[in-house]
């Protein structure tokens, strides 16, 4: 959840002007949540810290080019971090395959606890289809890993994901 009292955009603009203390403020504000997102994706503390390190270097370097018409400053910080982690996962997919049985599973989905619209829209999906979306976005699982995890054929998982995305789009606009 974003902290509504913190002005992410003003801090990012200040980073774009070269103000190092603004980056420090963004780090203090958001690094535990960004590290949590990266940790969940790459399943390793040291690796997740490497991802967050690289993300803050990219955030600093890209701050001057940040375009607020394309999305929020906070959202951009998460996109940068997630895609660095996802690139790592996909580039090393052979090494980590089969790992997922050892990884403790996601906590049960509880839409009540999360107020944003995506959670209400997800609640309307069938549980297996909702799990596909969560395992992909939150856990970084590939199609094959989701298929393995849910015990569903690969083709079925791919079709579920496609249809779930269409349904989410309709629900959220």
């Amino acid at each position: 959840m974003p902290d509504t009292l913190f002005d992410y955009e003003a801090h990012l603009l200040a980073c774009g002007r070269g103000e190092r203390q603004a980056l420090r403020a963004l780090y203090e504000q958001e690094s535990p949540r960004l590290l949590g997102v990266a940790r969940r994706l790459v399943r390793d503390n040291a690796l997740a810290e490497d991802i967050v390190h690289d993300a803050f270097i990219k955030i600093w370097a890209g701050a001057a080019r940040f375009d607020p018409t394309r999305g929020t400053a906070r959202g951009w910080m998460y996109s940068v971090t997630r895609h660095l982690a996802l690139n790592f996962l996909r580039d090393h997919s052979r090494e980590i395959q089969g790992d997922i049985d050892l990884y403790r599973d996601a906590e049960a989905f509880d839409a009540q606890a999360h107020s944003s619209r995506i959670h209400r829209c997800l609640e309307q999906l069938e549980p297996a289809r909702r799990d596909c979306i969560l395992h992909a976005y939150v856990d970084g699982y590939s199609h094959a890993q989701i298929s393995h995890k849910l015990g569903a054929p690969l083709g079925t998982v791919k079709a579920w994901i496609k249809r779930s995305l269409t349904a989410l789009r309709e629900c959220m606009g």
Partner: protein, 239 residues
């Protein structure tokens, strides 16, 4: 460069954007999307839409408190990668510009150079014109030697096998007087002898800096050193 397929419908584009943000594309298709995003504004808009829609799901990951050194690592990387002009006014000087540090290294490096240089000169058939001994910053222990028998190619020769964590790599950098920042000469494996042609760079200069830093396995993501220095030294002309 990847171009957009001519027959791609808006629905297909949106589906591709959705799966890109979700993370389920294959490595090949991810790379393809990332290349297209540079100049395909329709795809960029579709991706931005999915980033916005799915962002709320990041709440599901439990926050993790970073270890205290993480911020210092980030700061060090920023100091190392920023151009001199931008850092001059606000930030503390980057380590490239710290004279005291270099004087220290130069002294230690020169001593080691003289010893090793003599050794090499008595054995080598081709006389090197430049020598560099790369020493560890902490204990000044020599780890690598660089020799150049001409100004267009250098050889990086290990004096031992450096310890590198499994998920890291050593990246080789150089910087001469007046350059904006260090230039990567590529990744090097511990214990490996590396020949590096310098055809894209100006000829070697006396006092040119060389260093090996610890980077992610694929090298620094930003083309400048981001990790800690493992070995460092300056070029000395051999007469």
């Amino acid at each position: 460069m990847t171009t957009r397929p001519v027959d791609e419908t808006p629905e297909e584009r949106d589906e591709l954007a959705g799966e890109y943000v979700l993370g389920t594309l294959s490595p090949e298709r991810r790379t393809e999307v990332q290349q297209r995003l540079r100049d395909d504004s329709a795809l960029r808009t579709a991706v931005d839409g999915w980033e916005r829609r799915l962002l709320g799901l990041t709440d599901l990951a439990e926050p993790v408190t970073p270890s205290p050194p993480l911020w210092h690592r980030i700061e060090r990387s920023l100091n190392a990668s920023m151009p001199r002009s931008a850092t001059a006014a606000t930030a503390p000087p980057s380590w490239w510009n710290r004279l005291g540090l270099w004087r220290g290294f130069a002294g230690a490096g020169l001593a080691a150079t003289l010893v090793l240089g003599t050794l090499l000169l008595t054995q080598a058939t081709v006389k090197p014109t430049y020598l560099v001994v790369l020493v560890a910053p902490q204990d000044k222990a020599p780890g690598w030697v660089i020799q150049a028998s001409n100004a267009r190619e250098i050889q990086l020769i290990p004096l031992g096998v450096a310890q590198v964590p499994e998920d890291k790599a050593l990246e080789f950098w150089t910087k001469a007087e007046g350059w904006q920042g260090p230039v990567s000469l590529g990744l090097v494996k511990p214990g490996q002898t590396l020949s590096v042609p310098l055809d894209k760079l100006p000829p070697l200069q006396p006092d040119q800096l060389f260093e090996l830093t610890l980077e992610n396995r694929t090298g620094s993501p930003i083309g400048k050193p981001t990790g800690p220095i493992q070995f460092i030294g300056r070029a000395v002309k051999v007469i």
